[in-house]
Symmetry: C2
Subunit: 279 residues, 2 copies
């Protein structure tokens, strides 16, 4: 395979770019202004990929990207769990004691609240984490630092003054790799995961019946989430990830069975499972 | 009852403050720096309340607040659905054509991307929406506007130049009202909702069995969400909201039954249901 071309939302040095590199190893990663542009990039060429964050262990699921998965007809071909570790980045030659203010996205600043207070730094909000690193480089202010990824330090030639700034180390983001082609580009596991979305009529026991199609076949679920359908207050969408390849006989039977119960059902993708690495 | 005292995270004019006023009508709302301080305020006095966002229709659940609910022993005593409508706010006397930049939290800016592009405004990130309104007032710059709530316009004496700036009008945040005292302060509905959290051992069919306790009693679920337990990769927590008062016989029986299956179970609260108002 030639080198993978993959779009991500954000500036060079964004966590999504780190995840793309983590997944593919060597790749050409293309920054995009928003998630819509990531999907457009993938629609342009059968060999293009996109990477999107879908859930964070602290902040929860990113429903916006579930919406885009539903609105487009792309396939999930892989997943990647990234440990989000915020680094304090300063200009070359600057020492920690020179720093008096820290720039970043408000969510990153909030995740590092305790350490920032201990260091006595003034917080300055920016549009994104990688952008805050670029601003430190562009402005050349020696008393200012950015909270961003290790990758952003490389991209913007900044020094890592401190690592693991976040108050809660259990900070993981799960990314999905999307493509027109349902075949996964890289085998990262022998175990597969399948993501589906379906609706159910709002009747007591409807979800119970739906889950029976998996339970009766000893298929293990790794995620379930319900969400009201926009504009139809009594209907729900369910997102389920189960362990298994969609082409395995038991998975196929379970999905056929679920089709009898669900007014709407779509297979979002079947892809090698990526285990969370706590190191 | 004397006037309610309620803590919220953010500055005066924050959406959480609007939700507190929406829920209580007249109340004394106390701004707090972070969610931990909201919980501390409620722990201080049996008559104190707190209000916390728990899920947004576009962004998803706020796991951070689920964690705090688990770590504290407070009760959910109410819920409130707030339609999040971002207003463009300028200094008194300023007209729309004078504005060239817009300040707000990056998430609010992203939610209004289309309108901001149409208006040709430069985006400036701030720590929160209400804080951006305060900054417009403090700095007195006539070419800058804030994206914030209608309430923020009142608090900071700004003019509403445009309303409903968001690209997607289906933007609701669900807030929970918390207290030491499990009795709900205001009856807003005759129908009750109960929120519980429980863990299950990771066995195929475990969730199916757990849901049977509701299905067998025709109890309707309004939300289900799974989440890995931090540090225990094979265990899951489930958050379920069901329709019904926890003191009703069928609810009590269902919870007793679930207790037989779940290694951990806690009732987070039982409270009058608040219907989403689409107007």
């Amino acid at each position: 395979m030639s080198i993978a071309e993959i779009a991500f939302q954000g500036e060079p040095g964004a966590y999504s770019e780190s995840a793309a590199i983590g997944f593919f190893g060597d790749c050409r990663a293309y920054p995009q202004d928003n998630f819509e542009s990531v999907f457009s990039f993938v629609q342009q060429d059968v060999d293009h990929f996109g990477i999107i964050p879908i859930e964070n262990s602290l902040a929860g699921s990113i429903h916006r990207n579930y919406d885009l998965l539903l609105r487009n007809t792309l396939q999930i071909v892989g997943e990647y769990h990234l440990r989000v570790s915020h680094c304090l980045l300063g200009l070359p030659g600057v020492r920690l004691e020179d720093i008096s203010e820290v720039h970043s996205h408000p969510q990153a600043l909030a995740q590092c609240e305790r350490r920032i207070a201990e260091l006595g730094l003034i917080q300055v909000a920016e549009t994104d984490t990688a952008g805050s690193a670029r601003i430190i480089l562009d402005n050349g202010v020696r008393s200012a630092a950015a909270l961003a990824s290790r990758r952003a330090a490389e991209v913007y030639n900044l020094n890592i003054l401190l690592e693991d700034m976040e108050d809660n180390p259990a900070n993981f983001t799960r990314f999905l790799i999307i493509s027109q082609n349902p075949n996964n580009p890289i085998i990262t596991s022998t175990e597969y995961k399948t993501s589906i979305v379906f609706s159910l009529n709002n009747q007591p026991g409807a979800l119970f019946k739906a889950l029976s199609v998996f339970a009766l076949r000893d298929i293990d679920l790794s995620k379930i989430e319900s969400r009201p359908v926009q504009g139809r207050p009594w209907e729900y969408l369910f997102y389920i990830d189960f362990i298994g390849n969609v082409n395995a006989k038991s998975s196929m039977r379970a999905i056929e069975h679920l089709n009898e119960l669900a007014p709407f059902l779509r297979i979002l993708g079947s892809y090698p499972r990526h285990m969370i690495n706590n190191s």
